[in-house]
């Protein structure tokens, strides 16, 4: 087992100084053609590669991006990571991942673990618990220490950083608009409690779409699910709530669900109740994931372009990192909106 070879070892072996070896490898003109070749040959033979940690210490940057997301077993978030990793790699950066598990504490701890030199900047999406508590001091402190953050999807406006979001309101309006133009008169929404910002915004889009078409919203058609029901254990409870919705509003002919799971569950329940999709009930959901594509009937969905969000976030962050070096701090932050688009499939007419 040969350990990794260092400059020092090469230097000793070739009986020159460390600096000579370093310069030779970097093709410095200070070094004679002769020694340069000798050193390079030796380095190649022993497969020399500069030690990243030493470089990080010297250069005071790690060429590594920290990602903090609530969970990774999730179509949207993993798509975002794919996008981040893609451009990070292309631009010579590595990607280190922390999962907050939707917990405030884990989010804070994860950030602290990474903020002490391990990374150059963060890309993150805020945990639900953090949104609920509205405690953002860890973001502020990180930024104050000169470490830039890019937030995506779940953002909060008062933090001074770049942001990449989807236009949830507009996306929801597209979805509901599709139902309306498909002839639906009684459109229900299945959404989350309001503290989840995206749920709130999508609900807002639903209401605006109705208003635009002079349809009076009915409180009984708005089903706000306690968010914990997303975990698989509470599937029964979710089904029950949706069943109640349908039973007490038999006129429903369209459903807008703020995520795939709500949509497929609604379809399952509707079928049980004898409704035909899309003939007597049309369904549109948010998040164009694997369920939408492959369940039967396939779902008409609002695609969020997760990968694009990841790519944009990474580019924003790296741009800022590589700008900081030379220029003064540009304290102008961008908020990029990635357009959604509606993918029409079998669950609508």
């Amino acid at each position: 087992m040969k350990r990794k070879v260092t400059l020092k070892q090469i230097a000793k072996e070739l009986d020159v100084s460390i600096s000579t070896v370093s310069k030779a490898l970097r093709n410095s003109i200070e070094i004679s053609e002769d020694t340069r070749q000798k050193v390079q040959a030796f380095a190649k033979l022993y497969n020399y590669r500069p030690n990243n940690i030493a470089l990080s210490l010297k250069n005071r940057k790690t060429k590594t991006i920290g990602i903090i997301i609530p969970e990774i077993v999730h179509y949207f978030f993993s798509k975002v990571i794919t996008g981040i990793e893609l451009v990070a790699n292309k631009r010579g950066y590595n990607v280190i991942v922390g999962l907050s598990n939707e917990s405030f504490d884990k989010e804070v701890i994860n950030m602290q673990m990474l903020a002490n030199g391990s990374i150059d900047g963060f890309i993150l999406s805020i945990a639900k618990e953090t949104l609920q508590q509205q405690d953002y001091h860890h973001f502020i402190e990180t930024i104050n220490q000169g470490m830039p953050i890019v937030m995506f999807d779940r953002v909060v406006n008062e933090i001074p950083c770049d942001k990449v979001i989807v236009d949830d309101v507009k996306g929801a309006k597209k979805a509901v608009g599709k139902l309306i133009s498909g002839g639906c008169k009684h459109i229900a929404i299945i959404t989350t409690k309001d503290y989840v910002s995206v749920g709130k915004l999508r609900t807002q889009g639903y209401l605006e779409a109705l208003e635009d078409h002079k349809i009076n919203p009915k409180a009984s058609l708005i089903l706000k699910i306690e968010d914990k029901l997303l975990s698989d254990d509470h599937l029964d409870k979710l089904e029950n709530e949706i069943e109640q919705l349908f039973k007490s509003n038999t006129a429903i002919d369209g459903v807008f669900a703020v995520n795939e799971l709500y949509a497929v569950t609604a379809i399952k329940v509707a079928r049980k109740l004898g409704l035909e999709i899309p003939k007597s009930l049309q369904v549109v959901s948010f998040t164009d994931g694997v369920l939408s594509k492959h369940s039967t009937p396939s779902l008409t969905t609002v695609s969020q372009h997760g990968q694009e969000i990841g790519e944009k976030s990474a580019n924003l962050l790296i741009n800022r990192l590589e700008l900081d070096e030379n220029d003064e701090d540009e304290e102008i932050f961008e908020t990029v909106v990635i357009e959604t688009n509606l993918i029409e499939r079998e669950s609508t007419k």
Copy 2:
């Protein structure tokens, strides 16, 4: 914007030496109660945290694990990462992720980027292209440089490292056994070409199950899909192939699919052909992912326990890392088999 405070700054500010500060913070008995408190108070005030990179350089270990997987938008792999991150975090490690995208070159490059000091060891699952080319020199070299590897799921035996796998053969036998005991006489398998090791093993399990029950395998019931068809673009082609299978073998009353996508696609095609699930056709798939749980009918699947695989892998790796320190190199490698289990749902009787 106050930059991160260092020992040197504290030392200068308090007019003591760097070593005094360091020792005071680590509660060394060499330091007087007085200075210790002064230093600790100051450090707390300025929120001092030791720089990870400097520690890594000094200790020659990074407390970071590198993960290389083919893709991340994938239920199984993201579950594995969840498991890895869980125990890594608990044991004080970070996790850095590289995606090979099933490409040999990206796998090699990713490993090289990380192997130069950024991490202490790898957990990985081999890219399909690598399996096809059977070129494993990058693994061997990494190991020779003293960096341990743990392979999971897609492994190759000749590499000297710990491995965590599922018993694909046994899992497949369970799946096919379920179909047989449910009364199926003509069971088809939808699998991948043989170079994908798991596809090959699951096919083997299928054959063994048939043999155990004295059923003669028929070549026409074995459909081997060219793997690229997993990408969504080629869904049509996949459907066509499956349709051909059904049409030329009308007696088929059971299908074993080696992944969820093949299973739901088979169901979709079968329905189009007028077959009822599970009455006239029963389906079992491998990989207990989101499709299995939430599609209609829900799928009976072989669960691989991805998270457990991740946890076990991380524990194996970290154990080895922390053993290397003191003891001699233990050159005894483990191969842990995580048991699968069959989850019965609506797609079987």
